[in-house]
Structure formats: structure tokens, C-alpha cells
């Protein structure tokens, strides 16, 4: 019995990681195409039909690039940092329910687990900044740390409303409770929470307009300045997996998970994927539109605006819950 479960688990694991990494590769293609067309360019067109093989060419290039390590770097930490980042982000995937029957680890504390793991990923970033022994990396790492700490609170508080309405931290149960709720999705009753979540989602994943840890104009490439080749691509993958994970949490907690207007036969995860793609598109859309925040504005927005707003949302949710019952 135990052995069968183990094989099944392994297959599930391999398929999941492969599918996600393929999504990561094509997310870069999707991003370049979307941003290109938004800026009236074309994006990749050369490699394969419509540039469809571009991510594969990029992957091959990154894999075979020279791996340069600065002489002054702290080697063990320098090696470990990208792995910490990637492992933390990949382990988030374990608790995500893609449809009612496909969840690798059906944890009762799924949401908390994801928070813990995404905070752990920022360790990788900070260590990379520290170990590189370069001022740009260091500043990037510091910024990332303070940004993630600030916005983690806002994000956690924004999801408290969802937890209160569901009474559970299990992601599968959140989706199930959402389907039973009057609107079908929590984005409508929890619109304040959803807004706070969307903003802090952008900040958590270090995306524009909150991409201060890797602000090109100021910090070269931030924490991954000194990284090259496959190590750089590990950071890159971690960032995109982070985006996918955040998009999944948004889908699960606010947009109704795998439930949609109608059920699609044979593809139970159809709506889940569609919603993830929509949120990913939103990431790229924002990137094509907004300029970067100034650092003090970023901190102001996080501490003085989003956290009070999220607390107000908790209060309102509690009031509504008591009034309705």
C-alpha cells in the first residue's frame, strides 16, 4: 500500500515540476510578446515559428554559459543562495490544489506553509546579496529583505478575511467554501482584501512597479548582479515560479480556484489554469505600464496604507459575519 502511494507520489511530483518549469519557460516568452506588443514592438520572432522556440534557445544559452564566481565572494553561501531560492519556491507548489483530486500535499495549514516558504525564498536573495561581496548585490539584497518583510504582513492580513469567511487554512477547503458562497468568488465580498493582495503580490514577487531589489537603473541587476549562467537562471526560475505561486494563491483565495461558469470535461484544471494565465497577464500588463516606485514611497504604501487597509478589512469582515449570523 505504502509503496504504491510512493510511486504515485513520485510520478505526480515529476509531472508537476516539469509542467511548472515549462510554464516558467513560456511565461518569459508570453511576457516578452505581451510587453513587446504593448510597446508597439514585436517581441521574439526569429527562433522557430513566431519565436516559439525562444525560451528553449534561452535555456540552452544560459545552461552553457560560463559560470563566473567573483574572487571575493563567500563561496559556500554563493553556491547555496540560488538553490535556497528555488527550493523554497518549488516547495510552495506542493500544497497548491490544481483541481479537487490533484494536490501533492493536502496540508491543513496550506496558506501558512506558502507564506513561510515565500519568506524563506527571501533568505536566498539576502544571502546572494551578502555572499556576492558587491555593493549592488548587497543593496539589492537589503532592499529585498525590507520589502518582503513589509509586504508579507500586508499580504497575510489581506488573506485573514478569506480565512475568516472560510474558517480554514486548507487551500482545497477554501475553494470548496468559496463555491458554496453566494457570489461564488471571494473577490467580490473581499474586494478590499483582494486589492491589498494584488498590490502586495506585485511587491512580494519583486515585480514592476516594486522591482527595487533589482532596479536596473540603480543597481545593475540587484542581488543577482554577480551571478551568471545556470546560477542566474536558478534565480530567474525562482522568480517566475514565485509569480506562478502568487497567481495560484490569488486564484484559490479570491477567484474561485478550479470552479468556473461551467465544467469543462476531461480538463478539471481548465479554469484554474485560465485564471492563472489571466493573473500572469496582469503582472506583465502592469510591468508594461507603470514606472518604478521610489523607495520611501514603497515603504509608505506598505506600512501606512496597505496594512491599515487590510486591518480595516478584517474588522469589516468580522462585523459582517456577526451581523449576518
Amino acid at each position: 500500500m505504502a509503496e504504491i502511494n510512493f510511486t504515485k507520489l513520485l510520478v505526480h511530483l515529476v509531472v508537476l515540476v516539469d509542467v511548472v518549469l515549462l510554464h516558467v519557460a513560456y511565461a518569459t516568452y508570453f511576457e516578452r510578446k505581451v510587453i513587446g506588443h504593448m510597446q508597439m514592438r514585436m517581441g521574439p520572432t526569429r527562433v522557430g515559428p513566431m519565436g516559439l522556440l525562444q525560451p528553449i534557445a534561452d535555456g540552452i544559452k544560459l545552461f552553457f554559459k560560463e559560470d563566473i564566481i567573483p574572487a571575493a565572494a563567500d563561496r559556500p553561501l554563493f553556491y547555496a543562495a540560488p538553490i535556497i531560492c528555488l527550493v523554497a519556491m518549488l516547495s510552495c507548489l506542493a500544497v497548491l490544489p490544481f483541481d479537487p483530486n490533484h494536490v501533492l500535499a493536502d496540508l491543513n495549514i496550506g496558506l501558512i506553509f506558502i507564506f513561510a516558504m515565500s519568506s524563506l525564498a527571501s533568505y536566498g536573495v539576502v544571502l546572494a546579496g551578502w555572499a556576492s561581496n558587491s555593493k549592488y548585490s548587497f543593496l539589492g539584497g537589503m532592499r529585498s529583505m525590507s520589502q518582503v518583510i513589509s509586504y508579507e504582513i500586508a499580504m497575510g492580513l489581506s488573506l485573514v478575511g478569506v480565512m475568516m469567511m472560510t474558517g480554514s487554512l486548507n487551500l482545497g477547503q477554501i475553494v470548496a467554501a468559496q463555491a458554496a458562497s453566494p457570489f461564488g468568488i471571494y473577490a467580490i465580498p473581499q474586494f478590499i482584501g483582494f486589492f491589498v493582495f494584488v498590490v502586495s503580490m506585485l511587491a512580494e514577487t519583486n515585480r514592476v512597479p516594486f522591482d527595487l531589489p533589482e532596479a536596473e537603473t540603480e543597481l545593475v541587476a540587484g542581488y543577482c548582479t554577480e551571478y551568471s549562467g545556470i546560477r542566474f537562471s536558478l534565480f530567474f526560475m525562482a522568480e517566475y515560479i514565485g509569480m506562478i505561486v502568487m497567481a495560484s494563491i490569488g486564484t484559490i483565495c479570491f477567484l474561485g480556484g478550479w470552479n468556473g461558469p461551467f465544467t469543462v470535461p476531461y480538463v478539471p484544471f481548465f479554469w484554474f489554469l485560465l485564471k492563472i494565465y489571466a493573473i500572469m497577464f496582469f503582472f506583465f500588463w502592469v510591468r508594461a505600464t507603470l514606472p518604478r516606485y521610489r523607495y520611501d514611497q514603497l515603504m509608505d504604501l506598505g506600512w501606512k496604507f496597505l496594512i491599515p487597509l487590510a486591518l480595516a478589512n478584517i474588522l469589516l469582515t468580522g462585523l459582517m459575519k456577526t451581523v449576518l449570523e
Binding site: 505581451v34 514585436m42 508594461a288
Partner: protein, 217 residues
């Protein structure tokens, strides 16, 4: 100068992030518009009139050589001093005979002064711009190569050798009477722009201000 002050946004607009939404609407609309990209190696851009590209010496149809009279005006005016000419004279006060005409195109800054100053329309800059190379030797133009450049340019068939005019041949505001005889060429119709002096007739048509002269007389 007109200073346009930004309208102060009201509270409602601040809460609903109207400005950000407007910006995002703009980018969304742009996503469905046609890209402005010119896919260079496959589609080529047509150079505009007066484009300053590869150098050429105009081939004289009678002698099959260049029209150059070795006056050295181009050598004198060239800011980067990339033109060098050798000539000899068979007899004293006789015509100068060109021995070599060389342009070191890597040093050229494409100002077009040489074409502007030439009294016989011998040197000019063509519209060809694709002549990069892996060695310096092929971008060092001697007389043979410069004449070949002209042939190549004419073979493209976009221009009539008798009417091809670069704006440097006849700069704007330059009186036709001040030009040497070979430079008073007919100008193609599409080249007559506003402010361009092309013959006396065109000038009279372009600026209807003869009453001043009439008043003086």
C-alpha cells in the same frame, strides 16, 4: 510657452486609481495596434531624399572615367581629412590629370561637404548604406571602387543618372547663378520642396513678394 498644469485629482479618482487605470487602458489598446518594427534584414527601409551613404565618383559617360578635375576643393573642405588626391600636369598651366582619388571611408563623418563643394558634380554620396565589412581594406575606396560604387548605385535603377540630385549638390537658399555651370541641373519634380530654390520661376511662384522691388523702382 503654454504651461499646462495637471488637473488636481479629486478623492474619488485617487481611491479608484483612475490615472493608473487610464494608463493601463492605453497599454491594452496599444497591444492590438500594429507594431512599428521594421524587420531590417528582410524588409529594408527606403532612404529619404538626401540620404548620405556610400561614396561614389560619377562615371563620365564619354570618357568612362571620373568627372573629377582635381581642383582639391573636397580635400580642402573635408573635416576628417579622409580624401586624398594625386594629380599631375603634362605642361605648365595645362589641365590637371587625376592619378588617384582615395577616400578612407572609415574616417568619413558623412557631412556631405565634398559633394556640396564639388564644381563638376564628380563626388557624391549615394543612398546605399549596407557596406560593412570584416576588413578595413574593402572600406578603403580608391578611384576604381568609387566608380564601381556609382555603377552599382545606378544598376539599382531607382534614379536617373542625369537628374539624381543630392540636396548637397544644391543647398537650400543657394542662388542658382552662384553655381558652376555643371551644377545647374534639372531637379526631379518630387524634390521641389518648400523653401527649395529651383530656378527663377519656382522662386517667383514660391515667394509672391515682388511689390518691394516695384516700390524701389
Amino acid at each position: 510657452m503654454i504651461v499646462k498644469h495637471k488637473k488636481k485629482r479629486n478623492l474619488l479618482e485617487t481611491i479608484f486609481l483612475v490615472e493608473i487605470l487610464k494608463g493601463m487602458g492605453l497599454t491594452l489598446r496599444r497591444m492590438f495596434s500594429k507594431p512599428v518594427t521594421c524587420q531590417y534584414p528582410t524588409e529594408k527601409r527606403q532612404p529619404s531624399l538626401g540620404f548620405r551613404g556610400k561614396h561614389a565618383l560619377v562615371r563620365n559617360p564619354h570618357t568612362q572615367g571620373s568627372k573629377c578635375v582635381a581642383c582639391l576643393r573636397c580635400v580642402t573642405i573635408c573635416p576628417s581629412q579622409c580624401i586624398s588626391i594625386r594629380f599631375h600636369q603634362d605642361e605648365e598651366n595645362g589641365p590637371r590629370l587625376l592619378d588617384s582619388y582615395e577616400i578612407e571611408a572609415l574616417r568619413c563623418i558623412y557631412c556631405g561637404y565634398c559633394a556640396e563643394v564639388c564644381p563638376v558634380n564628380a563626388i557624391l554620396l549615394t543612398e546605399s548604406y549596407e557596406y560593412s565589412s570584416y576588413d578595413r581594406q574593402s572600406i578603403f575606396f580608391d578611384q576604381e571602387k568609387l566608380l564601381a560604387n556609382w555603377d552599382e548605385f545606378m544598376d539599382q535603377g531607382n534614379h536617373n543618372p542625369h537628374t539624381y540630385v543630392n540636396p548637397f549638390w544644391r543647398p537650400r537658399g543657394c542662388d542658382i547663378k552662384g553655381l558652376a555651370a555643371p551644377r545647374r541641373k534639372a531637379v526631379p519634380e518630387e524634390w521641389t520642396r518648400e523653401g527649395q530654390i529651383v530656378g527663377r520661376k519656382h522662386k517667383a511662384a514660391a515667394s509672391p513678394a515682388p511689390p518691394e522691388q516695384g516700390a524701389k523702382q
